[in-house]
Symmetry: C2
Subunit: 664 residues, 2 copies
């Protein structure tokens, strides 16, 4: 077997300590060790192979989901993996499965919304996988608007039961992962009705299938909602449809931590604050931001390695052509994405801290930072997932034609990633929430209520409305204080401008509706400021390793300056920078590109992804792209025979002019 | 069967003559009649069904390609369809197939590059489908850089033959559609070598497979290159890989219109001008622009209809929720795409005229407009395909979660469309070509050479560098002259700024390399100006039908103003407009959205697409979305059984805690 490192020349040029950067990326030496060990464990186990995933039929693919899930669970038990290790194992298996919802939604929701008694009853069953649970909220006709759900849970005081029912077609539960085929139980969100009164949406634990033969229980119709975007991709998940025909469950299966229904059918609120729910949302969205950095870094790793392997044009005297990565157009598209991957990594790390902080405050009944934390995570979820979805597709385009082959890994990565823009809050809806929070912050500026956390900069709004950027030469754009000032001025001015325009409408709501597009842009400006700020704060910490901090600083500048260029309309329209300063941004960017160019292979090696996890021939660690692409082609089922099935029936009669009489 | 028109209420509000608009969209009454007749013919023929396409295996899918192609050919003969009708038939069958390359590339290339004798020999065979041809140019290691191709065709004077050979792995032909399984012949582009001398890349007609049993001829290895992005989508096409091991063909199978090899092995150039090749490129790219308007309009039609059906939030007192299309954020994303679809339609129409004009000039040996026409079509190909690819994905997002289901039609539309950004010239490479042309134009401004055609505005560069936009109120942005002036000033100033920056480099080539990102942006500005100009010119023609012109004018303004907003950085940085004027753009846009809102269903109905062609449950003409989505779900193979395959093997042992002993 040939063992040439086609990227060896690139690796010899790297100017920083890649091993030290791996620790920065992983978060800690220990996190790196766990990731490294578990990813190799997965890569070396043939049951976890995934190179055939894009050519499997839906049924075959789902069968591998079941096989991999069972095998993973078996290994988790055999190897006595910790919760963290088990979670990494599922991550590196890299196949969407009912397990994700069982561990990621079903169990946390019972923990968060169930009483102690309920937790004691259900959690041990779930922890041992004696039941499989999913989280059934969205309906065929209802997504973002949870309060519009139609499924009903009507209390019957005669039998002390709730009757779950799907009154309309649009009330069918639709989309929940794991619901279609695998789950035995579900958390069902439905309207609680007692004594004819509608108390809004509440959660209920409902058994869906018999634990003996997996058949749906009486009154329950379940199925899969059909094939989704992409080859392989999310089709390993059994997103489901569910209808209830007057299904009865005991009263104690309503999640009763926050509100209860008594034996008599009385509806009560406990003294547990409702805001706890927001704590969970902060948690879930924080993991989504962290996933964004994973998905984007994966795409960037593939595109960067292949851009170093691939050559096009520029041959001198029959010598080799130019490496595609040396073209400025390629750098201008790729390097900001590389920088974004790091930026999202660090903002994700910070969000993890924020969640801990919020949790501690909640336990101390301090709700003061919750709205700000909620707005901030909502906004960052939206910002990072949208940019990641677009970024993956951009990476695919950066690989030229071959990026269109499934063997490049990029089509599947795109298809499997994009739901993140929709689930856990549609990205536009979330940005509108952020903008409402920003408008509230602006309106309170004169009132003595001090803006906190990520909105603290608003406290200096008077200064920010008037300050001038003092960049004179391109290098001035490298100063963190200059960058921060520009992003703060832009965000503040856009928010204030929106607030002023809102005041021109007779009603606040009409204004919000009319100006929603502007409000979304103001929210984006605010969220980009957060990412830039957290990256700059990260750089103020001690970061060991030769050259590591220098590379991270260069990427931070690339991230910030490429955003200024991309959104220069915002910066110019609000007078934050001058046209001359905008043009200096471009000059500085080019010199930053030149600075990171020798190190980009090191910067993607630092993600420490196995070839198994990457799942891309173009992104192979050894750069041995073309022989492997060629080899892979022959595995397509169409190549089972040289002469295709259908030749005698269709092609031959055409060539022989015998179609007229042929039966097709 | 239920026959309710769920969009009836929307249709009753339309303020213009939809039938007249259909004619505008189709191009003429006759074109509408043909399209209408042929699309219904296809829709009503069960062999052309495509609702099962996303769940077929690769082999099954390819089998339907053969079946549909043979059936189409049979129908073309039986019904004696004209060439135009046959082409519409293939269009509405809507399945990428070897036929596209046979008719769209193989035949035109022989026509363009073959001698009269060669045409006489090969065209009748191709017209009758007695041979199936493809166009084999790109190689595993060589895409955009045609001059870098490695395949060789070496003349052997002893036998009067060429020897075709693939000297390296990267020289394997790779990507050509129809090559893998269906084609019997190919146009092979390879380096011509006579007497040890390399004459660069030339075309050769090569038989690949036996006409008796379809087996590859000796020395030829052919296969399919494997599965590509998306379910169904382009996987019906047998993009192929091909290697030659010293394969001999007669000398007269080199395409000899432009250059020849004599019996003695002498290489000669004929007096046929090489520029003819550019004429063909203008033709092909013109069809790509027209295809862009089709693909984008299809996505827009789906997203618009579903946005009118779908409701979310805003329910008052338990009444129905707000139609999603009434949200400004939705309008702000969707309506500019609707406007773009129309804009691309009209610029495509104009390109058709341009091709005719160029052809006539070529015949009269007038090459003066060719460089401009070439730059213009290259740029428009790039602009429209990139925007269409992004626009389809945006439409998918605009449909919320359900857009992710294959039954929405949007995933497949995206996956099948995106190659257009790469084939026939990578979009970035093309924009760099445009920018080179622009720089040349700028450099010649003082020389007395007058810029022609779409660059004529450069003639007034002195005025354009200084002029001021005189918009005072939002309504001023409705004036075509104001819009044109702003776009011209922006394009001219960006080109001039690039030219000035280029002059700062010691070598022109270094400058081009360093400034390539800026050059691309200048090229985009120029191309957007062309689209805006051609739309405005279209509106200066007589357009019959009540309200038709008014709607088209509103869309034209939406197209132009949404671009100004999107690229306001360009307009502001170059001082073309002021921040105040930029903000008036937004106010005017909102009022335009309100103006077209009642008419949008009519504006997408005017595309006259059958439900078969649309292939989307969300985009159904009757708006009966939810019952049909529900129905469709059950057709997924996973729903063949209620208890999934693999339950006994994997799920049950897990639930029953028997995994330890299970063999997985």
């Amino acid at each position: 077997m040939e063992e040439i490192d086609h990227l060896g020349h690139e690796r010899s040029k790297i100017e920083f300590d890649v091993e030290a950067m791996k620790i920065v990326w992983a978060g800690s030496q220990r996190a790196l060790e766990v990731s490294d060990r578990i990813s190799r464990l997965v890569a070396s186990d043939p049951i976890f192979r995934k190179d055939d995933r894009t050519i499997l039929s839906r049924k075959e693919l789902f069968n591998t989901t079941l096989r991999k899930s069972a095998h993973a669970w078996k290994r988790i038990i055999e190897l006595r993996l910790t919760e963290e290790e088990a979670s990494r194992l599922r991550f590196y298996i890299d196949q969407p499965a009912f397990m994700d919802l069982h561990w990621g939604m079903f169990i946390p929701a019972i923990k968060g919304q169930g009483t102690e008694e309920q937790q004691k009853k259900w959690l041990p069953l779930a922890y041992k996988m004696q039941i499989i649970g999913c989280y059934a909220q969205t309906e065929l006709g209802h997504g973002s608007n949870v309060q519009g759900l139609e499924t009903t849970a009507t209390f019957d005081p005669k039998t002390d039961e709730f009757i779950l029912h799907s009154p309309t077609l649009t009330s069918s539960k639709w989309w929940p992962g794991g619901l279609g085929k695998a789950s035995t139980h579900a958390l069902i969100y439905s309207r609680l009705i007692t004594d004819g009164q509608d108390h809004g949406v509440h959660g209920f634990i409902v058994q869906l299938r018999s634990l003996d033969d997996h058949l749906p229980l009486p009154g329950i119709t379940i199925g899969d909602i059909g094939i989704k975007f992409g080859n392989g991709a999310y089709n390993s998940m059994d997103n489901g449809v569910l209808r209830f025909d007057h299904v009865r469950i005991p009263r104690d299966q309503m999640l009763m931590r926050v509100s209860q229904v008594t034996r008599e059918g009385k509806y009560l609120q406990s003294d547990v604050p409702r805001q706890l729910v927001y704590g969970t949302m902060v948690y879930v969205r924080q993991t989504i931001v962290s996933d964004a950095s994973c998905a984007l870094s994966r795409a960037v790793c593939i595109a960067t390695r292949y851009s170093a392997v691939r050559r096009q044009f520029g041959s001198q005297d029959g010598g080799p052509e130019t490496q595609v990565i040396d073209y400025k157009t390629q750098q201008n598209r790729l390097f900001p994405l590389l920088a974004s991957a790091y930026a999202y990594r660090f903002v994700g790390e910070w969000l993890k801290w924020l969640y801990t902080d919020v949790t501690q405050r909640l336990q101390a009944n301090d709700f003061s930072t919750l709205p700000e934390a909620h707005a901030c995570t909502a906004g960052l979820k939206s910002l990072t997932t949208s940019a990641t979805a677009d970024g993956i597709e951009e990476c695919r385009k950066l690989c030229g034609g071959h990026g269109y082959l499934c063997s490049s890994g990029l089509p599947e990565l795109f298809a499997v990633y994009i739901p993140a823009c929709t689930y856990e809050g549609d990205n536009i809806v979330l940005l509108l929430q952020v903008s409402r929070f920003l408008m509230k912050t602006v309106s309170q500026l004169g009132s003595g209520i001090k803006p906190v956390g990520t909105t603290a900069y608003m406290g200096q709004v008077e200064h920010l409305m008037q300050c001038h950027c003092d960049v004179q030469r391109a290098e001035d754009w490298l100063k963190p204080s200059v960058i921060l000032a520009a992003f703060q001025a832009r965000a503040a001015r856009m928010s204030v401008a929106c607030a002023q325009n809102l005041s021109k409408f007779s009603s606040q709501e009409e204004g919000f509706a009319e100006l929603s597009a502007d409000l979304v842009e103001a929210a984006v400006a605010h969220c980009q400021l957060i990412v830039v700020t957290k990256y700059i704060e990260k750089l103020q910490q001690a970061i060991p390793g030769k050259g590591v901090k220098e590379q991270l600083a260069a990427l931070c500048n690339i991230y910030a300056l490429s955003l200024i260029h991309k959104h220069q309309g915002d910066f110019l329209a609000n007078g934050c920078i001058t046209p001359k300063q905008a043009s200096l941004v471009n000059w500085q960017l080019r010199s930053l590109y030149a600075q990171v160019r020798p190190n980009v292979i090191g910067l993607v090696d630092a993600f420490n992804y196995t070839d198994h996890y990457l799942g891309s021939i173009l992104g192979r660690y050894d750069g041995n792209v073309y022989p492997k692409l060629y080899e892979e082609a022959w595995k397509d089922p169409l190549n089972d025979s040289v002469v295709p099935d259908g030749y005698h029936e269709f092609i031959r009669p055409m060539l022989k002019q015998q179609l007229r009489t042929a039966r097709l």
